[in-house]
């Protein structure tokens, strides 16, 4: 209890939905929680309330047994007193200060020598050597992002809040930095809460996902839980990927990877980055079902499966299958009736190789 972040608060707005947060996160050791949801759902407001930049109307925020905010006792710690690191979406680097001065900005309380050694360490770690005297506008997007992150991490904060850390970068760089970022954060061992509206980013960076919609956290759990078992149909649409399973690339040949996932093995297009461990992501609409194979087809993956559950969702049926790993298929209701599907029935699940998306993961 005392090692947790416990936030239960409300913030009302005139023109948009009330933010009503009930959020608990263990803060022992490294973990990354991603807040995902459509824009305007209150992700940034939640993060700002945790940082002390926005005052909730009601409720409490406690961190490791210390009260950060309590509306009943009128307690409110300033951002300075919370010992957090906040990374702004566009980095908010100080334009009149050099890279070195930006990174050392929050270290005034240290002696000169100590400050210099901490800054040098960060410069080395973030591959910014030689750029010490540059101004932010003389840096590339990726360099700016590293300076901003370094400036936050050099103070060794107890909690890290990142507002869309990769969104200001171009697509190519974003892909490259996704994996690196998780590694950097893991090295510092600080608990992280980050905002993203990109599910690939959530899957590659986070351990835990909180899905927000209209000011509330609708579901919170591990990546597998949230993506494969959304608690209702509207969340399922929001997360958009029905199957996310950990897999391992065992062989790559001519751009195609053989991935072992659970006790099964699938063929997929190999990811652009060198990696062995991946998340295997498959959208429900890309999985088709048939009773028995009739002849040769272009579909590379044909997996024998047992139906574990059938859930009607409007005109569709959500079919959860066991084919060595848990696989979800979305099919139409007439199709389900034609095949006479029922729980326990054996079918063949068919997935085209290009429909399987591999996202690198680290341990």
């Amino acid at each position: 209890m005392t090692t947790d972040l416990v936030a239960r608060f409300q913030k009302r707005f005139v023109r948009s939905a009330t933010i009503d947060i009930d959020f608990v996160q263990s803060t022992t050791g490294f973990s990354v929680t991603a807040l995902i949801g459509p824009s305007g759902c209150g992700k940034t407001t939640m993060l700002r309330c945790l940082a002390g930049l926005t005052r909730p109307d009601q409720g409490t925020i406690q961190f490791r047994g210390r009260t950060w905010f309590d509306s009943t006792t009128k307690t409110e710690l300033s951002p300075q007193q919370r010992d957090i690191g906040f990374l702004f979406q566009d980095y908010a680097l100080f334009p009149h200060l050099t890279v070195e001065e930006n990174i050392g900005f929050g270290l005034r309380h240290l002696t000169d020598a100590e400050r210099r050694s901490r800054v040098t360490e960060i410069l080395k770690q973030f591959d910014l050597k030689g750029l010490e005297r540059r101004l932010p506008r003389q840096l590339s997007g990726g360099q700016q992002q590293r300076v901003a992150l370094g400036r936050v991490l050099v103070r060794k904060p107890k909690l890290l809040l990142l507002d869309e850390p990769l969104s200001a970068l171009d697509a190519l760089l974003r892909e490259q930095l996704r994996g690196e970022l998780r590694q950097i954060l893991a090295d510092f061992g600080t608990p992280v809460i980050l905002i993203t509206h990109d599910r690939v980013e959530a899957i590659s960076l986070a351990d835990r996902v909180a899905v927000m919609s209209a000011g509330r956290i609708e579901q919170i759990g591990t990546i597998q839980e949230v993506f494969t078992r959304p608690s209702n149909a509207s969340l399922a649409r929001l997360v958009g990927v029905e199957t996310v399973a950990p897999g391992e690339i065992v062989d790559t040949r001519e751009g195609l990877a053989t991935v072992s996932v659970g006790s099964a093995s699938v063929l997929a297009v190999a990811p652009s980055t060198q990696t062995r461990l991946v998340h295997v992501c498959i959208k429900g609409e890309d999985v088709s079902l048939c009773r028995e194979l009739t002849g040769p087809t272009t579909v590379r993956n044909q997996l024998p499966a047992i139906i574990k559950s059938l859930t009607p969702e409007g005109p569709l049926v959500r079919v959860v299958l066991d084919c060595g790993f848990e696989l979800t298929s979305l099919i139409t209701r007439p199709a389900s009736d034609d095949l006479q599907l029922h729980v326990g029935k054996c079918v063949t699940a068919m997935i085209k190789a290009p429909a399987i998306h591999l996202i690198p993961r680290s341990v």
Binding site: G52, F88, A92, F94, P95, R108
Partner: protein, 220 residues
């Protein structure tokens, strides 16, 4: 040229500028940052001297500074001085009359700043005051300098309020613009022309400097 009037005017303008630097910065910062709904009232009061005839402000000040006026009573009780027709009197008048020339450029500079930079500094554990000194001031200096220069120049040219509150006492309240008026009254056009041309050149240079600073402010 009356060198006494030059010296008096410079002294007045310098002190007014320093007072408005100290008073105007916090007021402008508050105006730029507050979300209070009644802010427009304060903004209107600050801007009032822009549209109010100097004689109107001067008249009210003179009444207030009189022996039975609130300002006059306070000055007499606390410091044992009287205000009308003294240097302190025209100083108070000039400070009030120049309020918009200092506060409005300051507030515009603060309001134009990216608020996230301030918040980023807070989140790095740096106090509000230190953030103001290390982030806000260095980034807003062109606007602040513009306000100070405008205040200084405007005080040098101030006429109506000074005449109403201070009259025309050589060495005490007789500033450059009043000495021009005085010369013309005495039909001494040569002296008036000389002083006027000095003030014209001064004002032109000042405006060139502020425009140039404005350009720089946009560029960086």
């Amino acid at each position: 040229m009356e060198w006494g009037a030059v010296w008096l005017t410079m002294r007045l303008a310098l002190i007014v500028t320093m007072i408005l630097f100290a008073l105007g910065l916090p007021l402008a910062y508050w105006l730029a940052m507050t979300r209070w709904r009644g802010r427009f009232l304060v903004e209107a009061v600050v801007a009032l001297p822009l549209v109010l005839p100097p004689t109107v402000l001067g008249f009210y000040l003179l009444v207030a500074m009189g022996p039975h006026g609130p300002l006059g009573l306070v000055a007499n009780r606390l410091f044992g001085i009287r205000l009308p027709f003294t240097f302190t009197g025209i100083l108070i008048g000039a400070v009030l009359f120049n309020l918009p020339f200092a506060v409005r450029p300051f507030a515009a500079a603060f309001a134009g700043m990216d608020r996230k930079l301030i918040e980023a500094s807070w989140c790095l554990g740096v106090s509000r005051f230190e953030t103001f000194c290390r982030i806000t001031l260095p980034l807003c200096w062109p606007g602040i300098l513009t306000g100070l220069i405008l205040t200084f120049a405007h005080t040098v040219g101030e006429f109506g309020v000074v005449l109403m509150v201070g009259g025309n006492i050589p060495g005490v309240t007789r500033t450059l613009s009043i000495s021009i008026y005085d010369s013309v009254q005495g039909l001494d056009y040569a002296s008036a022309g000389q002083t006027a041309s000095v003030l014209l050149a001064f004002s032109f240079i000042v405006l060139c400097v502020t425009q140039w600073l404005g350009q720089r402010g946009v560029a960086t």
